[in-house]
């Protein structure tokens, strides 16, 4: 089912014209209201009138995550606070979170793009939505909530955690649609099978996102929960979940490109890649008022497919994320940069700045080990002193990054030294679709 045919099935020419118009309006808006962008554009010698069509986007400055941190909390807002009705923030990163502000119109756009997402999964007002994304600053819970209400479904805002209760309500209320992270879906599935309650389920559709997942995980979730699993992509900086979505063909994710204008660039040269080539995904929000972003670098690697889809939609598709152009890891839904771990380790004089991170997925839960070299002069005969160091490092990582880590002290000089760029991460999860 197509929620909004006039936008989802628009001809390419009409879409380009619409995007050009909306891009112009957005550039005018940020130039007038956001000193950060005005300054950047002035430095580049670009004026709003230089932007006439979609092609002119290459004249505009990029935005990166650190810009959002530097402008914390509200520096990138293009609406006065009196018009901001909601704020969200990204989870678990060091120092300042990334803050997003929404006007009433922005919330309308957000529920619109999620209504398209849920309709593409053949959901409607007869469905019972079990929303097990976290509610709160995280965009997952409230985002999916508003979208499900928009299509008139019955919503169970159960949020994340408390698996017992999840299963009870899911079976008692007859939930037909599940929204959560794919790893939680698998955990839930296993808990349900352990209780022998799989035949009591009434699920038929699931929307999963907020972390990378594989085709194998999709099949496993579908088998165990007897539902059709849809991928949902998004990021707080752009709007939250609903930036792009699977249709029933499940051949890439349709981008809501009348709101979020995508580009693919070479992360080294920052130049656009040839059509169909893999590169870094960049979004410009062209309808948002609260916090419009120009050319935001997602650091996610993928390619765009412009051929119309069998489902009838013409909006461009992005393929499953194939990797990252930076070294960010997503562990149990939390964004982790190796440099954040490094700065924690540097606070401890007992360890050397040589470390290696090991990430794996065991029983559908991410495991995270931090191996760090002990300084030879710190080593002592005192076992409890050594165990205490381990504990203190773990506690510090937990408080800075919001994620628990298994810290292992290793022998001096045992972590391989490399010339040039150090390889500090071993991620055995294979969560990205390597093409």
């Amino acid at each position: 089912m197509i929620w909004n045919k006039s936008y989802e099935c628009m001809s390419r020419d009409e879409m380009c014209a619409l995007q050009g118009k909306r891009l112009r309006e957005t550039v005018e808006r940020v130039y007038a209201n956001t000193p950060f962008y005005r300054k950047k554009m002035q430095e580049m010698g670009v004026m709003p009138e230089d932007i006439q069509s979609v092609e002119d986007i290459v004249k505009l400055p990029f935005t990166v995550k650190t810009d959002l941190r530097d402008q914390y909390p509200f520096g990138l807002f293009a609406s006065p606070m009196s018009e901001i009705v909601r704020m969200h923030a990204s989870s678990g990163t060091t120092g300042k979170p990334v803050v997003a502000g929404y006007t009433r119109k922005d919330l309308g756009i957000w529920s619109e793009v999620l209504a398209r997402t849920f309709s593409a999964g053949d959901c409607d007002s007869r469905d019972i939505f079990h929303i097990a994304f976290g509610y709160g600053l995280f965009t997952g819970g409230l985002g999916a909530h508003n979208g499900a209400e928009r299509i008139g479904a019955s919503v169970i805002p159960i949020s994340s955690g408390n698996t017992e209760k999840q299963i009870q309500l899911m079976t008692d209320f007859g939930s037909t649609v599940l929204c959560c992270t794919p790893s939680y879906a698998l955990y839930l599935a296993e808990s349900i099978h352990k209780k022998g309650l799989q035949d009591k389920l009434n699920l038929r559709v699931g929307f999963f996102g907020a972390e990378p997942w594989t085709e194998e995980m999709r099949r496993e979730i579908e088998d165990k929960l007897h539902l059709k699993a849809y991928d949902i992509y998004g990021l707080t900086e752009i709007i939250g979940p609903g930036v792009s979505y699977n249709c029933h063909c499940q051949s890439g994710m349709h981008i809501n490109e009348d709101h979020f204008l995508p580009e693919i660039i070479n992360p080294e040269t920052l130049q656009p890649v040839a059509p169909g080539e893999v590169g870094e995904l960049v979004f410009t929000t062209i309808t948002k008022e609260g916090m419009p972003l120009l050319r935001y670098r997602t650091k996610d690697l993928t390619r765009l497919v412009y051929e119309p889809c069998e489902c009838g939609r013409t909006n461009v598709r992005m393929e499953k994320i194939m990797g990252r152009s930076d070294d960010m890891l997503i562990i149990r839904g939390v964004n982790v940069f190796p440099t954040q771990i490094e700065s924690v380790l540097l606070e401890f004089s007992e360890t050397a700045p040589h470390y290696h991170l090991y990430v794996d997925r065991v029983n559908n839960t991410d495991t995270f080990e931090v191996h760090v070299e002990m300084r030879p002069e710190f080593f002592s005969d005192n076992m409890s002193r050594m165990l205490d160091l381990k504990k203190r490092i773990s506690a510090r990582i937990q408080s800075v990054l919001g994620i628990s880590a298994d810290v292992k002290l290793v022998e001096p000089n045992s972590i391989p030294r490399s010339e040039g760029k150090a390889r500090r991460v071993t991620d055995k999860r294979n969560v990205y679709a390597n093409k």
């Binding site: 002990m374 080593f379 005969d381 076992m383 292992k408 290793v410 022998e411 001096p412």
Partner: protein, 142 residues
Amino acid sequence: MNIIKQLSVFLENKAGRVTELTRILGEAGINLSAFTIAESSDFGMMRMVVSDPEKAKELLKQHGFAISLTDVVCLQTPNTPGSLHKALAILSENGVGIEYMYAFADGDHAKVILSPDKLSDCVRVLLAHQQQVLDADELYSF
């Protein structure tokens, strides 16, 4: 002075690490008189009394081991029921605590390596109560 230099070595849980250590010591003609391995969930610690602790320390350091030398006490008791208790009671009555110990019995005697919280008190108290405390030469000669 009846003090023994004990060598402590940090051991990652890694296959072959102890074998490498015994090879290095053996090739250098260093004898192991006593040892114990303590382990936590992800690393271990080998504590040992060797014939030439300073040499062993330098050698193992060169091979990348993290090591430290610790002063410990070697108590010798008769290998009979109640002997160890008698010695330990003396220590506890005199306020000397023990962090860890390991022991081996051989024939008529048993030797106990002690890591006390108060080293010189430990030696003094034991000697004052007619306990036998070995010095390094006596221990290595076994």
